[in-house]
Symmetry: C2
Subunit: 336 residues, 2 copies
């Protein structure tokens, strides 16, 4: 059995910087036509210039690797010092989204925001420029499993204050977040990762401790996982793929103070084919991975297609020093 879909779009990926960047451009571009590149690099992407430089570097690597069909879509990180002018310049330079991390919620977010209302002039400028607001929706300091739910009021407040601002609640992990997005107007969407469709907190800490499944937001209950699957395979166009593929070298995961992030780029599409087939929804795989995100971001369909074949393969133990999601497991679907 084979399926062919329009080349997919990863609406949330960490390509990192330095040596890691080269490896990650290769992994993501192997399967995805476009990717929205997160700005929380070691030196964050804060301005039009930063984004342009970062994009040039990504495109340089893609050209070297002979990956002409891969287009990185750029973001800037919204921090306390971001101004409406920075937003306008970034928008002119082709930056399509601004990413907001509450302070301290995940990798490289120590410079995150603690007062959202202080950023309202920035949101106003984003609304005018038609730049998308991407939210890491967690409230720090709250009990770890309640952080996403605690953020939903802020999401509702921002969406009401800026009815024409397109907002993406990133990597939703709870039934409550899914239901909240469903009830909000069409300017609000959500991304869903691959690993949150497969794992619950039980997989991370219920048996042995599994650092390679540890991410933020942490995976929640089986009921939450089922709600995410329902949103991913359902017919709402407001839920689409953002892998949040987040590589960390093995030594940064298997240590006394491990980094958050699951590296899914090389296995994401195979895993999605598996779970969509399991729920009898293979014909919706293109919508979730390729169409819906492009519609929300108002992008034309990208060139090219991706073919998957039902043929077992074993996920390598590591790629370039990074342990991938489902390392060592046999997956039923394979990207051709």
């Amino acid at each position: 059995m084979k399926i062919k879909i329009n080349r997919p779009f990863d609406l949330h990926v960490h390509l990192r910087d330095g040596k890691m960047l080269e490896r990650m451009v290769k992994h993501t571009s192997a399967h995805f036509g476009h990717a929205l590149v997160m700005p929380n690099t070691t030196k964050p992407i804060l301005t039009a210039e930063d984004a342009q430089e970062y994009k040039r570097e990504i495109c340089r690597i893609a050209a070297l690797e002979n990956l002409p069909h891969f287009t990185p879509l750029m973001t800037i990180k919204l921090v306390a010092s971001t101004t409406p002018e920075i937003v306008r310049q970034a928008s002119k330079a082709g930056v399509i989204a601004g990413k907001l991390y509450p302070e301290g919620v995940t990798t490289n977010s120590a410079d995150g925001v603690s007062n959202f209302e202080s950023l309202y002039p920035v949101f106003e400028a984003m609304q005018e420029c038609d730049m998308v607001l991407c939210l890491h929706g967690e409230v720090p300091g709250v009990f770890v499993l309640d952080r996403e739910a605690a953020f939903l009021k802020t999401l509702i407040d921002i969406s009401r204050a800026f009815p024409n601002l397109r907002i993406v609640l990133e990597h939703v992990t709870t039934e409550e977040a899914v239901e909240t997005v469903r009830l909000l107007p069409y300017n609000v969407s959500a991304t869903i990762t691959v690993h949150h469709l497969f794992t619950t907190l039980d997989d991370v800490i219920g048996g042995m401790l599994r650092p390679h499944l540890f991410c933020k937001p942490v995976a929640k209950t089986e009921g939450d996982r089922k709600a995410l699957i329902g949103a991913a395979i359902g017919d709402s166009m407001r839920f689409f793929l953002g892998t949040d593929s987040a590589p960390h070298l093995v030594g940064k995961k298997e240590c006394s103070s491990g980094c958050a992030g699951v590296f899914t780029a090389p296995v994401a599409m195979a895993c999605l084919a598996e779970i969509f087939e399991q729920y009898g929804a293979l014909e919706r795989l293109q919508g979730f991975t390729s169409t819906f995100g492009r519609v929300f971001y108002r992008l034309p369909p990208g060139p090219g297609t991706l073919e998957l074949v039902k043929e077992p393969w074993v996920v390598p133990a590591e790629y370039d020093g990074v342990v991938p999601f489902r390392a060592g497991e046999t997956l039923p679907w394979k990207v051709l």
Copy 2:
């Protein structure tokens, strides 16, 4: 400032076997006069003979190390094949408790029990012999944070079916478990660990991943932690110390599939003095760590005392290849 208490009693400790045993006898006997030694060694302690052999080995090490005041108290592991006769023989051989692990809930519990009622003849024999039943109170397969609460019905059932069987719910982690024990008759008690008085799930997975704080049952919420502190410093004699000090070599913790267990033996008493002082309850430290457990287990006060002094010291990064609880931190109280 100094305090002197009767030598404390650790009602729940893992001394392990092989090379680790020598190190652990040294650490526990340095501060504790008696310790109830858990039977989930690599080759489990299942019978009178196993327990006698294990005890001889522990006493041999204690003698070599010149630790004449340390007395190990022995347990057997209750498994599907345990019979009333095994219990009677163990009791005659001086084994004072039987430990029951539900199947697969923690380290070396793959041979644990899945059908509790099938063990009722064993509990009957324990009741007759006056052997204590120690329960790892978690139901496997349930969402990891709900496993202890899900076990409470079994605790109630067993305590009603065997009103003269002394039962210890080990290492309680939830307010619900504390309240359940309070409402049950006096034949039911609970142990509380040191690490559960200090940590919540936020410490394990709320920031970076902290494998050295990962244990079973996993630490729960701040409200649960406060309930444990209330039970530990309170005037109920049915809550007493069982450290569940559970050493794993650093490579078994900092890896892709990490073991559960926190190594607290060398810091337990210092940490307890700190938290009891913080809550103005230093005068109750002796009750929680020395008196109440001995009363429940019907043991005479052991010989000797332990002195603690308020003098800062830094917890070593590791002891014999095992990272201790609060490694690298400065503690205000020190065992003399």
